[in-house]
């Protein structure tokens, strides 16, 4: 249900010749600019809101400072590393567990209810518990991100493998493929689009969870920690820079994923995938 409705108007796909006119791109800038101007005016006027609003000039200066001091790059690197750990550990575990549940009815029966019970609690809700258990180091944060990356992949791998058409499996059997060949030539490729969708969700959830744990733990390094420290110190400029980078990185990660996943999905008929 987290189908990404990509930017721009939906008709772009059905009419390849139709392109969004330049003008409309400019129109899209009007509102953000208005907000920026209003923001800047409020900040300059000071008064009651001076604390919450920071001028554009101040924001630019803070950006240069945080980059020059190496602080921002360090936080970004920490967060990205955390997401990488979460995706590789949680993703692998998720695919393995999902596959085991799809292929073995017993594993499905035993693990299914546990999975769904744990799934009911929002990822960030586990933070106080993990904080008590593992203290304030990197381990509880990484565990949360691993959990966030794992859960969508369990579900999508499971659904993908369960959804393999019996007709395709029959063809494999007619060609006398053994169970291993049947898995790698038929079941896995058939489930791949679903698994990739799961990976995309895992990426998004891992990023959200990463920022979330860093904010909620509020200590150590990472963009979330930078935002939270900024809030505690009343530094709106630092908070804003953090928020902007969270958004930019989320966007870049999604783009990168789509780029990398596209070759694996070349066979899909657009009409069918809808």
């Amino acid at each position: 249900m987290i189908s990404p409705v990509l930017g721009g108007p939906a008709m772009a796909g059905s009419h390849p010749t139709f392109k969004m006119p330049r003008l409309s791109f400019l129109k899209g800038l009007v509102l953000p600019l208005l907000i920026l101007v209003a923001w800047d005016l409020l900040a300059r006027r000071g008064g009651g809101y001076g604390f919450a609003f920071v001028s554009l000039e101040g924001l630019g200066k803070a950006l240069v400072d945080t980059i020059a001091s190496g602080e921002l790059p360090r936080h970004v690197a920490t967060s990205l590393l955390r997401v990488a750990i979460g995706l590789s550990v949680g993703g692998t575990a998720g695919v393995l567990i999902g596959a085991a549940m799809a292929l073995s009815p017993i594993v499905d029966k035993v693990l299914g209810p546990v999975y769904h019970a744990i799934r009911q609690v929002p990822t960030l809700g586990w933070i106080p518990l993990l904080g008590l258990w593992f203290g304030y180091g990197e381990l509880p944060k990484d565990l949360i991100v691993i959990k966030a990356a794992m859960f969508p992949l369990v579900l999508n791998t499971y659904e993908g493998l369960k959804g393999v058409k019996a007709a395709h499996v029959d063809v494999g059997k007619v060609l006398t493929l053994n169970p291993l060949q049947l898995f790698f030539k038929v079941r896995l490729p058939s489930a791949l689009p679903m698994i990739l969708t799961g990976l995309q969700q895992a990426l998004a959830f891992a990023w959200i969870a990463c920022i979330g744990v860093e904010i909620l733990f509020g200590s150590g390094s990472g963009i979330g920690a930078m935002i939270e420290t900024g809030q505690v110190e009343g530094r709106m400029d630092v908070v804003l820079i953090g928020v902007i980078f969270v958004g930019l990185i989320a966007f870049a990660l999604t783009r990168l994923f789509t780029r990398l996943a596209a070759p694996g999905l070349r066979w899909r008929d657009l009409k069918e995938s809808r």
Partner: protein, 280 residues
Amino acid sequence: MSRTRPEFEPITAGRSGALAIRAVGKTHHIDGQPLEVLRDVSLDIGPGEFVSIVGASGCGKSTLLRLIVGLDNDYQGEIRLDDRRILSTSLDRGIVFQDHRLFPWMTVEENVAVALDRRPLGREAKKKLVAESLALVNLSGFEGAYPHQLSGGMAQRAAIARALINEPKVLLLDEPFGALDALTRLKLQTELQALRRRNQGTMLMVTHDVEEALYLADRVVIMQGGPGRIARIVPVPFPHPRDRGSAAFARLKDEILAELMREPELGSAQVTILSQDRRR
């Protein structure tokens, strides 16, 4: 896998297979309710023969093909190919389904090559075989296409190439042209007839198109539903290429159609059950 002496001497000349279907019965269980789909079906098909089974949908003809190809071995009676009991799938038998069932994630070439997965052949040999079999069905030049890029007729040709590449002793065709438009169907029927002249394999085709059966087959088996059984076997005496417009052809077609229409409960087994209820 007992090797008892057959009643007739099997002529396993080249790659043709003799198919012996003996007193085959099959019952499906739907929600615990038994539904008899085949009863006491017996049929002998000689090596190199082309037999066509016609009958209304639900008469169990596709089920029979599933049993012969080896996807289902839970049935009564026995099915033997060259005197070997059929227990599972084997490269001896190829099948073409109504829906082409190409794997959408593989190109045409890969789809045909996957049929060679279990054969101990070198990469080059496999490549050569794939190219040959694609040429046989006039698909050269489409090796790299994905199934969704093909028309229905082309996809079905690729499916035929996949089924023929192992030179099976028996080729089973389950309404292979049923989903195609009329013109493509005629074209593929002619191509199949041409293929048959080159390939010595035995063929068994299920169809509901009586004309198609008469155009291609040496014998036409008429099946009736509820439960599926053989009503009549009609030899087709015309030499190839056959003339669909000839008076004799039309007469035989009318005769078979009349046979098919005769039974009032020709439809599915359910229709039979309903009419039995009414009689009560």
